[in-house]
C-alpha cells in the first residue's frame, strides 16, 4: 500500500514537474519581435538655455531657404531655421507633389534645393534629376545619366545606394557606384568633368556624398567588405584634377602624416604605424574606407571624417591595432596633411566603422565656449571630442552596449568585454551592438533651439562566428558569419534626443523597425524622420510627442530636408524607397530562410517584406495655402 502510494506520488510529482517545465519553457520562449507601436520615454529635463550646446560659430550658415549639401551645413547639423511649420499646424501637412525615380533600390540620398531647382541623385545607375520648382507641376528641367559600369552592382556591399550630391559655385558634384566623381553645370545638366577614382575590379566603389570646401571636392572610397585600402581624395572643383589623396593604411607618406601630425593619445604616435600595427603586408588589403560623412571647420581649415572597418572582419587574421582604420581623422583641407587621429575601435572586432557624422558644436565651458565635435559612434558610444586636439572629453553609451565597457579617457582606448571578443572557429552569442553598430550611416540632426542632438539609431545584437577568409581581389573579404536580432526590449530602432552637455538622453522613441533614415530638425521645433515600413513622422523637438505621420509608398531610408520654395512657403522633402543594408531583404529579394543573408541583417528584419515594398519616390510636403 505504502509502496503503491509512493509510486503514485512520484508519478504525480513528475507530472507536476513536467507541466511546470512546459510552462517555464513557454514563458521563456525566444521573444519574437512583436513590438509594433512606437513608444515614447521621457528620461530627463530639457537643458536650460545657458547650458545648451550651440552649432560651431565658425561653420554656421545663414538661413537662406536652400539645402545645398546632404547634412545641411559644414557643421553637419541638419538644421533648417524655417519655422512656418510648427507643432500647432503640422497636423495639416500634406504632400504637394511626388516624383518617381523608377528605381527599386535603396534611396539613401538627400534631395538638394538651390535657388528654384531641386536636384535628386538616385541609387545605381546614379541618375541626376533637376526639377523646376517655379512651375506648379514641377516639371523636369534636365536629367543626367552617367552610365556607370553594370558590374559595379556586384561589388556594392550593402545595396547600390548613393548618399547624395553637393553643390558649390553653380556646379553639382556627385559620385557614381563604379568609382567616378562628376561635376555638372547646375543650370543645364552639362557634364563639366569626370574623374575616375575607384577600381571596381578590386571592389572599390563610391557611395558617399562628396563635400566641397575651399575649392576642393572631397571624396572617399567604399569597399570595406572587399579588403579595399581606403582613402580620402581631394579634387580641384574647377578641373577635377587630384589635389591630394590620403590613404587610411600604409606608410606615413601615403597617409599624409607629417610633422604637423599631433594626435592626443600616445598610442597614435610613432613612425609608420599604418604598417607596423598590421600583420606583414596586411595594410595593403586592410580597409579603412572613408565612405561616411565629412564636416569642415573654416576657421581651422580642418576637415573631419571617419575611417571604416579593417579587413577582413575576422580579427584573428590581423593582429595589432590596424591603424588608421575605425577612427576619425582631422586634416588640413588645403594640403591633406593629418592634424590628429583618434581610433574608437583599435583592432576592430565587430565591423564598427567610425564613419558616422561629426557634428561641430560649441559647448558652454567656464573659460568660454569649447570647440568640439560630437560623434554618435558605431560602438554605441557618444564621443565628445575637442576638435582642435582630438582629445576625447567624454564617451557615454547612447544605445544598449555589452561588447564594450567604457572608454578610458586617459589613454583613449576602449575596454572591450572579454566574453564578447570573437574567436576564430566559434560562434559568439548576443554581441550588442551588432555589426551595423549602435548607429550606422544615417545622419543625426542638431537643433540650437533645444540644444539636443536627435540621433536615429539601432537596437540590434548579433551572434557571430569567425573563420579564416581568403583574399581574392574583387570578392568579399570577411571570414565572418553573422546573424542579428532585436536588442533588449524587442524594438529594433530608436530615436534618441541627446543632451551633449549633460551627457544623457532627454527622451527616446523606441521604434519597431531599425531606423535607417536621417533626421531633420527645424526652427519650428519639429523633428522629422521616417521608418522602414514607410511612415514619415514629425515629432515635437522638445517632448518627442508624435504630431503627424504620413504613409509613403515604400519604407524610407532617406534624409529629410526643409527648404523655402519660390512662393515663400516652407516645404519638407524626403525620398522613399526601402533598401540599403537594412532593407536588402526587400530591394534584393533576399531569402529569409537563411538568417545570415545580407551579412546577417535579414534575420533581424524578417517581417519587412510583408510590411513594405521597394520603389523610389520623392515626396514634397507643405501646409495647405
Amino acid at each position: 500500500m505504502l509502496k503503491r502510494l509512493g509510486v503514485w506520488t512520484i508519478f504525480a510529482l513528475l507530472l507536476a514537474l513536467a507541466v511546470a517545465a512546459a510552462a517555464l519553457l513557454w514563458a521563456t520562449r525566444p521573444a519574437q519581435p512583436e513590438f509594433r507601436a512606437a513608444i515614447l520615454e521621457t528620461l530627463a529635463p530639457l537643458p536650460r538655455p545657458e547650458a545648451r550646446a550651440a552649432p560651431a560659430a565658425s561653420a554656421a550658415r545663414a538661413e537662406d531657404g536652400q539645402w545645398t549639401m546632404p547634412l545641411g551645413d559644414h557643421a553637419a547639423t541638419r538644421f533648417s531655421a524655417l519655422a512656418q511649420i510648427n507643432p500647432a499646424n503640422v497636423a495639416r501637412l500634406r504632400p504637394v507633389f511626388t516624383f518617381d525615380t523608377g528605381i527599386a533600390k535603396g534611396h539613401e540620398a538627400a534631395p538638394l534645393v538651390i535657388g528654384t531647382t531641386m536636384y535628386v541623385v538616385t541609387p545605381f545607375p546614379n541618375i541626376v534629376y533637376a526639377l523646376d520648382l517655379t512651375r506648379p507641376d514641377h516639371p523636369l528641367k534636365w536629367a543626367f545619366r552617367p552610365k556607370p559600369l553594370q558590374t559595379a552592382q556586384g561589388v556594392a556591399c550593402c545595396d547600390v545606394v548613393n548618399r547624395g550630391a553637393a553643390f558649390a559655385d553653380g556646379r553639382i558634384f556627385f559620385n557614381t557606384l563604379d568609382g567616378q566623381t562628376l561635376a555638372l553645370d547646375a543650370a543645364t545638366g552639362r557634364e563639366i568633368w569626370r574623374t575616375k577614382l575607384g577600381n571596381i575590379a578590386i571592389g572599390e566603389t563610391i557611395t558617399m556624398a562628396p563635400l566641397v570646401a575651399e575649392g576642393r571636392v572631397l571624396v572617399g572610397s567604399s569597399g570595406g567588405e572587399f579588403g579595399v585600402r581606403g582613402w580620402l581624395a581631394a579634387l580641384d572643383a574647377g578641373s577635377g584634377a587630384l589635389a591630394w589623396k590620403a590613404f587610411s593604411t600604409g606608410p606615413d607618406k601615403d597617409v599624409l602624416i607629417g610633422p604637423g601630425f599631433r594626435p592626443f593619445y600616445a598610442s597614435d604616435r610613432g613612425r609608420d604605424l599604418g604598417v607596423t600595427t598590421w600583420q606583414p603586408e596586411g595594410w595593403k588589403i586592410g580597409g579603412g574606407n572613408a565612405w561616411g560623412w565629412i564636416s569642415y571647420d573654416p576657421q581651422s581649415h580642418l576637415v573631419f571624417y571617419g575611417t571604416g572597418n579593417p579587413g577582413p572582419w575576422n580579427p584573428d587574421q590581423r593582429p595589432g591595432d590596424n591603424k588608421w582604420t575605425a577612427g576619425v581623422f582631422a586634416r588640413d583641407v588645403r594640403t591633406g596633411e593629418a592634424r590628429w587621429f583618434y581610433q574608437s575601435s583599435p583592432h576592430d572586432l565587430f565591423d564598427h566603422d567610425d564613419v558616422n557624422e561629426s557634428v561641430l558644436l560649441d559647448l558652454p565651458a567656464p573659460g568660454g565656449p569649447r570647440p568640439v565635435l560630437v560623434r554618435p559612434g558605431r560602438t554605441g558610444f557618444m564621443y565628445v571630442m575637442d576638435r582642435l586636439t582630438g582629445q576625447v572629453l567624454s564617451a557615454d553609451p547612447y544605445a544598449f552596449v555589452n561588447s564594450m565597457r567604457r572608454v578610458d579617457l586617459k589613454t583613449g582606448r576602449p575596454e572591450f568585454a572579454p566574453e564578447k571578443e570573437p574567436v576564430q572557429g566559434r560562434v559568439t552569442r548576443n554581441i550588442c551592438p551588432a555589426a551595423p553598430g549602435g548607429k550606422d550611416w544615417n545622419p543625426s540632426a542638431f537643433s540650437p533651439r533645444t540644444g539636443l542632438l536627435y540621433v536615429p539609431h539601432l537596437n540590434l545584437c548579433m551572434d557571430e562566428g569567425h573563420s579564416e577568409a581568403n583574399y581574392i581581389a574583387g570578392t568579399p573579404y570577411l571570414g565572418a558569419d553573422a546573424r542579428m536580432h532585436a536588442g533588449p526590449g524587442g524594438n529594433r530602432g530608436v530615436l534618441t534626443a541627446w543632451d551633449p552637455v549633460a551627457r544623457r538622453a532627454v527622451w527616446r522613441i523606441r521604434e519597431d523597425l531599425p531606423l535607417w533614415s536621417g533626421a531633420l530638425a527645424t526652427g519650428g521645433d519639429l523633428v522629422f524622420y521616417g521608418t522602414m515600413d514607410g511612415l514619415f513622422k514629425a515629432v515635437d523637438a522638445r517632448s518627442g510627442r508624435l504630431l503627424w505621420q504620413f504613409r509613403l509608398n515604400s519604407g524610407t531610408i532617406g534624409q529629410p530636408i526643409s527648404y523655402r520654395g519660390p512662393d515663400g512657403r516652407q516645404y519638407i522633402a524626403i525620398l522613399a524607397g526601402v533598401g540599403g543594408w537594412s532593407g536588402a531583404i526587400v530591394s534584393g529579394a533576399l531569402d529569409k530562410g537563411d538568417p545570415t543573408s545580407a551579412l546577417g541583417f535579414v534575420n533581424a528584419v524578417r517581417d519587412l517584406p510583408a510590411r513594405t515594398d521597394s520603389g523610389g519616390r520623392l515626396y514634397v510636403f507643405a501646409l495647405p495655402r
Binding site: T151, I285, R426, S467, D594, T596, S597
Partner: protein, 244 residues
C-alpha cells in the same frame, strides 16, 4: 581552418613586367590578377593562335628574368646561319599547338554538357562544393544561400537559369550584373562541384546526399532541413542534365 586555397600574402598591385612573366604567374597562382572576366565569349590560348593584339607570345620554357638571353649563347654566326631555317621548322610545330591551345569558352558547351548529372547526385562532390563555396568567397555575396550583395541561391528564382550547366557556366564565365568569372581560379570539375552544392541549397538533389553540417562555425540550420523549391529556369529550353 586552413585551406589549400589560402592566398599567399598578397602583393598588390598585381605584378607588372614583361608579358611572359605575367602570364606565367597567372598560371601558377590560383588567384592572379584582380580583373574579373565578364560576359560570354570565345577566348583562345596564348601565342600565335591568339589574334587579339593585347596578348604577348608565350615563351616555351620561361627562364628566370636574369638568365634570359644568356641561354642564346655567344656564338652569333650559327644562330644567324641556321636561325631562319630552325624558325621555319618551328612554325608547323607552333601551329600544331594551336589545336590544343584553342579552347571553347562559350557557355553553350557547358549548358549542353551532361556532365552535371554525375556531380549533382554525389555526396562527395556536394561536400567539396560546400568547401569551395567558403574558400572562393561565394558566401560573402550569397551568404548560405539567402543572398546579400548577390541574389539568393536557395529560392525558386534563377536570373541565369538553374540547371547544372547554366550554374556552372555562370560560375566559370561570370554574368554582366556583377558575378565575377572564376575560370582562372578553379578547374571545370570544381565548378561542377560548386554547381552541385548550389543546387543543394534549394534542396534539389536527393536528401541523403545533402551535407548535414557546414565546415565552419555558422548560424544556419543544416541543409537537410531545407524545403525543396522548384527550379524556374530563365531560359525557356532547359537541358536535361538537371532533371531527376
Amino acid at each position: 581552418m586552413s585551406s589549400p586555397f589560402r592566398a599567399d600574402p598578397p602583393s598588390l598591385p598585381a605584378g607588372r613586367g614583361r608579358g611572359w612573366v605575367r602570364l606565367r604567374k597567372k598560371r601558377r597562382s590560383p588567384f592572379p590578377s584582380p580583373s574579373p572576366r565578364r560576359g560570354e565569349g570565345r577566348e583562345r590560348g596564348f601565342g600565335v593562335c591568339d589574334l587579339s593584339p593585347a596578348a604577348e607570345p608565350p615563351h616555351p620554357d620561361p627562364l628566370p628574368l636574369g638568365e634570359r638571353g644568356k641561354g642564346a649563347g655567344p656564338s652569333g654566326t650559327a644562330v644567324r646561319r641556321y636561325g631562319p631555317i630552325v624558325a621555319l621548322l618551328l612554325i608547323p610545330l607552333l601551329l600544331a599547338a594551336c589545336h590544343r591551345e584553342t579552347r571553347d569558352y562559350k557557355s553553350d558547351a557547358l549548358k549542353a554538357s551532361d556532365r552535371g548529372a554525375a556531380f549533382e547526385g554525389n555526396a562527395f562532390h556536394i561536400a567539396q562544393g560546400q568547401r569551395l563555396f567558403g574558400w572562393m568567397n561565394c558566401a560573402g555575396c550569397h551568404s548560405h544561400g539567402g543572398g546579400g550583395m548577390g541574389p539568393p541561391l536557395m529560392d525558386d528564382e534563377w536570373r541565369y537559369g538553374g540547371s547544372m550547366g547554366e550554374i556552372a557556366a555562370t560560375i566559370l564565365d561570370g554574368r554582366p550584373n556583377g558575378m565575377p568569372s572564376f575560370r582562372s581560379r578553379i578547374t571545370e570539375d570544381q565548378a561542377w562541384q560548386l554547381a552541385a552544392f548550389v543546387r543543394a541549397l534549394s534542396a534539389q538533389p536527393r536528401q541523403d546526399v545533402l551535407p548535414s553540417r557546414g565546415d565552419e562555425p555558422r548560424n544556419t540550420e543544416p541543409m537537410t532541413l531545407d524545403e525543396r523549391k522548384p527550379i524556374r529556369p530563365a531560359t525557356p529550353k532547359q537541358d536535361d542534365s538537371s532533371e531527376e
